[in-house]
Amino acid sequence: MDGFSQKEEQRLLKTLATESENLGLVERRSFLKNALVMVGAGATITPAGAALASSNLPPSVPSWSRQLGEGVLTNPYGLPSEYEKDTIRRTVDWLTPDRISSISMTPLHKLKGIITPNGLAFERYHGGLPNINPDEHRLIIHGLVERPLIFTMEELKRFPSVSEIKFLECPANGGMEWKAPQMEGLQFTHGMLSCCEWTGVRLSTLLDAVGVKPEGKWILAEGADGSGMTRSIPMEKALDDAIVVYAQNGEALRREQGYPIRLMNPGWEGNTCIKWLRRLEIGDKPWYQREETSKYTDLMPDGRARKFSFVQECNSVITSPSPEVPFKGKGWYEIEGIAWSGKGKIKGVDISLDGGVTWRPAPLKGMIISKCLTRFSYMYQWQGEPLLLQSRAWDETGYVQPTFKQLRAERGGNSIYHKNAIHTWKVHSNGSVQNAQLS
């Protein structure tokens, strides 16, 4: 604070804090903000804020303990604390020419457990976010069927429903990292990923209602958005575990996730889980739509491309520490992360502190569900030594998450999608964490 000695500054700040304690929370904040501006503390707001906050720390009785709080329905739909303002989706603006056909990422470094809150699940739009009135929305199922049917949203909710916790991942997750560690933080290297409880009616139940003819082998799923998003889905998947979803984590599906209904193909490319679903056409062959030819195909070094590469293979990443969650001083820390596989349950996760020379199993914790995020945890006493932190997951099919070297040896550097390589965080001796790749 210019023009004040440190002692004088502390005295002044304490006086301000004391004076303000007679005010309500909102007024108090406003009073302090103005007072700080008046004494010219703008540039040193952090130490000032810390000094003020200390009046709420023991042995002082905090201001919120000596007054009443807000009543019920202050927020009819509850929101996170104002102190969580940086827990938000973020994008990388140079990835796409505009934000209408673009993607935002989940703040994985801020999340605990396996459920992604509805407001934080990554977004992917090909033609922007539509605002659909459910009363004016329909699902049509037709093509090679005995009884082409049209459903209102209310009618769909009369069918027997299922609720399942499944991860959802854009196949381009980490796609910027094929050639080099290009992103600064976890949110951008792995954030095209979410995991929710999805409620809806099994697609197989709806297919029973229309009666699929024997020659029906593929289903075209189509969205009602401005891109008319479409993907061809094999009948085996539809009959296995696909769901037409109308609720997410207990409440109506969010607009960003396809309100009022979307398709959910557990463990498969997020792109196949058509949002704002309006139509399912049964046919004998795939349609070769734009999003399964020009895009969402994997270009290989020989110039040919894999098509219908649906499955999101086994993957994992350490979420703490990470560039956004550095070590702050020596001592015990929980090295924590998430693992997932589109082929089933996670069997185990190994972690390495030395860039993959030595590995040790990291215990799994919480629920272990097929095609769902699974938490792993490893307690570690950090003494300030540099680390090359890695996690390596394996799933119930026996598949072990590959190294970048192995992945590049098979696919080169231009396949964009399905990057599931073992990820490396370089932990510096000052505790900061940096995205890294090893060769």
Binding site: V92, G127, K179, T293
Partner: protein
């Protein structure tokens, strides 16, 4: 009643007599199991229970078809059934020439894709890249990569032009498709594309795809001495291969002009950031001088009603006039 719910208020919203209060307490205790109130002052509606129909209650023997939903008639389906397959299934009657396609393309497509399909800014390239698929920087254009012409027809019809999806007539889609194929040297200058000759078109990269054959990697769970630790080469990120720094922090939404700014970013920016289709560029004063001389109302009017390449309200008819005007103000405030 200190520090707990006021039962009287909860039940009736007013204080009751002591006698009623006692009944109410009993009533509250039975709240969830169905309260029978004996006080004559409160009428209890009498319900008659009709006998539940037998059958269909066995949870282990449910019908395969619940008979929910209505028949989708062919008329209803036709309005939404827009997909087209490589064998031509789904194509409507119609035709379009390369020549017609060129003028429609210039009008509706070139603003983003470039006059030669080269792509403006980051918008998709439509042409070029032949033989580049094995190179370090492959160009996956329609000519170099797309396996089927039907995909082109289908996608233009369902999603283009970007600001006005599903706005083209079938003949326009045939014509644009013909022209884009011509740009890629797949059909001649005098070609006329029809439903009948569609299946005869062969794309250069039609054999360039194969069914997913993963898993392709075979890592194992090595636990000790898995590599030589002294030979680890570390590449630290971020490495900005595109020469740009990631805009990693979403802008705080503290701008008073929040709605206007959001509208600009989600609707106007598509054209006004780069100046495609002669759109006046954001922040470039000289682009706006002549327009401002005609007055702000004239600019509002163009934004609301459309002009040349500018669709009415930027193609978002659902926006209120005030929102569109606010977005205009926001853009003008940045000059």
């Amino acid at each position: 009643m200190h520090n707990s719910l006021n039962v009287n208020a909860l039940i009736n919203g007013r204080l009751l007599s002591m006698r009623t209060f006692k009944i109410t307490i009993v009533c509250f205790a039975g709240f969830l199991v169905g309260c029978q109130q004996s006080d004559q002052s409160i009428e209890t509606p009498k319900e008659t229970v009709t006998k539940v129909a037998d059958g269909a209650t066995s949870q282990t023997d449910l019908p395969k078809n619940f008979s929910i939903g209505h028949q989708a008639t062919s008329d209803v389906i036709a309005g939404w059934d827009i997909d087209v397959r490589p064998d031509g299934l789904g194509l409507p009657e119609g035709s379009g020439s390369v020549e017609d396609g060129e003028s429609i393309y210039e009008d509706k497509c070139a603003m983003c894709h470039g006059s030669f399909g080269e792509g403006e800014d980051q918008w998709p390239k439509l042409t070029g890249g032949a033989g580049s698929l094995t190179e370090a920087r492959p160009e996956k254009s329609i000519g170099s990569f797309w396996p089927y012409a039907s995909t082109l027809w289908d996608y233009i019809n369902r999603a283009m032009p970007f600001p006005a999806p599903q706005s083209l007539e079938p003949d326009e889609v045939y014509a644009i498709t013909a022209y884009v194929l011509n740009m890629n040297e797949i059909v001649d200058d005098d070609f006329v594309l029809t439903r009948e000759n569609f299946a005869s078109i062969e794309m250069p990269n039609k054999d360039g795809f194969y069914i997913d054959d993963r898993p392709d990697t075979k890592n194992t769970r090595c636990m000790k001495n898995c590599k030589d630790g002294s030979k680890i080469n570390i590449v630290l990120g971020p490495v900005y291969s595109l020469g740009k720094k990631a805009d990693t922090v979403a802008e705080e939404k503290t701008d008073e002009n929040d709605l206007a700014k959001t509208t600009y970013e989600s609707v106007c920016q598509v054209c006004h950031a780069s100046g495609v289709a002669n759109a006046p560029k954001m922040g470039v004063a000289e682009d706006w001088t002549a327009r401002l001389e005609r007055g702000k109302d004239s600019i509002y009017s163009n934004a609301l009603n459309g002009l040349n390449g500018m669709p009415a309200k930027g193609g978002r008819a659902d926006l209120s006039d005030d929102t569109v005007k606010a977005a205009v103000d926001f853009m003008l405030s940045k000059l």
